[in-house]
């Protein structure tokens, strides 16, 4: 089994207008480590993953995944489109 871990840290950080240094200070890691996490070069410990989840106010599975993550916009609105399509088909 591959040891790949995908994450949305870069997107979440950009959404919240945080610099890498801000995020690093908030969770108590080195600024370089934020870069390694964002590029997927480093898989965090459970403690750090939980710290990040707490900092962003999101469940861990919304930030990290063993499978490639869908873009947030698609995750939010993609299902709506599919559901609308299904609803229209059932109405016919």
């Amino acid at each position: 089994m591959e040891n790949e871990l995908y994450n949305r840290i870069a997107v979440l950080r950009a959404e919240r207008n945080l610099s890498r240094q801000d995020l690093a200070d908030a969770v108590g890691i080195n600024v370089q480590t934020v870069g390694f996490l964002e590029r997927g070069d480093y898989s965090p410990s459970l403690t750090l993953a939980l710290d990040l989840s707490e900092h962003f106010g999101l469940p861990v599975e919304a930030i990290f995944s063993r499978k490639p993550l869908r873009p947030l916009s698609e995750a939010l609105y993609g299902d709506h489109k599919a559901n609308d399509h299904k609803a229209r088909r059932s109405n016919r």
């Binding site: 610099s19 890498r20 240094q21 108590g28 890691i29 080195n30 600024v31 370089q32 480590t33 934020v34 870069g35 390694f36 070069d41 480093y42 965090p44 410990s45 403690t47 750090l48």
Partner: protein, 195 residues
């Protein structure tokens, strides 16, 4: 990785390529230095301890001021994961040889290794340990042979070989963990890339 900026002799070391060049050049210089002292020892009979101690001092200087890992200088953050002892303030009691310790606590954040750095440190020590363990076994084998030399080599050559391998093992033991970190750590983001 680094505690004191990313520069050695004014040359930026953010890129892994630059760090690898530094490691190669430094080890080249150390080997040249050890060879010179050894040749002096053989040619002029300076005594075995002299080249050995010079080489150890050179390795300690490299470890302390270039590679790092052992205090406030060098590229790699202190392996001890705590800030070095701050300088004592120059006050009157210093003159009385009372050796005061500073009461001002230091900012530990820049000296603290986070979990990724600690894992890199431990990995580097593990790999360095394997290399040093092999070298120690080679020393043992050579020492054993020097007691009962095989037909194809003299006891004198084996004794010198024990000395040379012991010298190189000491150099590696002092410098290898930090060198492995410098060699393997990927490129470091510049401040512009960090936003």
């Amino acid at each position: 990785m680094t505690a004191t900026g990313y520069k050695v002799f004014g040359i930026a070391m953010q890129r892994r390529g630059a760090r690898r060049k530094l490691v190669v050049v430094t080890y080249g210089a150390l080997v040249a230095f050890c060879t010179t002292t050894f040749v002096l020892h053989v040619a002029y009979g300076l005594g075995a301890l002299l080249p050995y101690s010079w080489s150890i001092y050179a390795s300690m200087a490299v470890s302390m001021f270039v590679f790092g890992g052992n205090g406030r200088w060098g590229l790699v953050k202190s392996f001890a994961n705590k800030p070095p002892q701050p300088d004592a303030p120059m006050v009157e009691i210093v003159k009385l040889n009372l050796a005061p310790r500073t009461l001002v606590s230091q900012n530990t954040s820049m000296w603290k290794n986070d979990e990724r750095e600690l894992s890199r440190r431990d990995q580097a020590h593990y790999h360095a340990y394997q290399a040093v363990a092999v070298a120690v076994l080679v020393i043992l084998l050579l020492a054993f042979w020097s007691i009962k030399p095989p037909l194809w080599v003299s006891a004198e050559i084996l004794r010198e070989a024990v000395f040379i391998v012991a010298l190189l093992t000491s150099v590696l033991a002092l410098t290898l963990p930090a060198a492995i970190i410098l060699w393997t750590e990927p490129d470091i983001d510049t401040p512009e890339e960090q936003t």
